[in-house]
């Protein structure tokens, strides 16, 4: 796999899984928090990617 987006999704999945498991005790809370983190990672990655798009370097 060499897709930047695909690798970012895999990376976000791992990091949000570990963070959610660390920071919440109940599985339902872990799931909700992990989903929010995952969405935040992906959303932030896409927004920052578009903001950087016009830069010439």
């Amino acid at each position: 796999m060499t897709s930047h987006l695909g690798l970012m999704v895999v990376f976000a999945l791992f990091v949000s899984t570990v963070f959610a498991t660390l920071m919440r005790d109940e599985p339902t809370q872990q799931l909700a928090f992990g989903a929010r983190l995952f969405g935040g990672f992906i959303g932030a990655g896409i927004v920052i990617g578009w903001l950087l798009y016009p830069l010439p370097f």
Partner: protein
């Protein structure tokens, strides 16, 4: 569902008090998730046992590098410390010749990010296990 209340946490702390927190940390560092399993946090331990080493393996598969300790190159030395955070998997990977890192591979930098972050995440897992062993969580 209501989160754990004080008495439950106190009971957990009482149960795990005889455990040497530093031994737990050593085990948690060596094999990600084992510290939590030792302390009876089975669900968390299993998640860490799967997710952290898998992230490390994906990083190696993406041709990331296991950095050597080079004091003359401070960033390489820091990357080595982060890599080492994963524990035994680092030494296993080194012993089988994985993690040579192919700089020209298109996924090289991605692989480095996965390997380094897996080590750093395991450091957080170790700190969490230490807090649990001390009865703080």
């Amino acid at each position: 569902m209501k989160p754990h209340s004080g008495p439950i946490r106190t009971a957990t702390a009482d149960r795990i008090q005889p455990v040497n927190a530093f031994l737990v940390c050593a085990a948690a560092w060596a094999v990600p998730g084992v510290g939590h399993l030792w302390l009876g946090r089975r669900q968390k331990g299993i998640v860490f046992l799967i997710a952290v080493p898998l992230m490390f393996v994906v990083g190696l598969w993406l041709e990331g590098r296991l950095f050597p300790f080079q004091i003359s190159e401070p960033l390489v030395a820091l990357a080595f410390i982060a890599d080492l955070g994963i524990g035994l998997p680092y030494f296993i990977a080194k012993s089988i010749g994985a993690g040579a890192g192919r700089v020209v591979a298109i996924t090289y930098e991605y692989g480095n990010a996965f390997v380094i972050v897996a080590g750093l995440l395991n450091m957080l897992v170790v700190l969490d296990a230490f807090d649990i062993a001390k009865g703080r969580k």
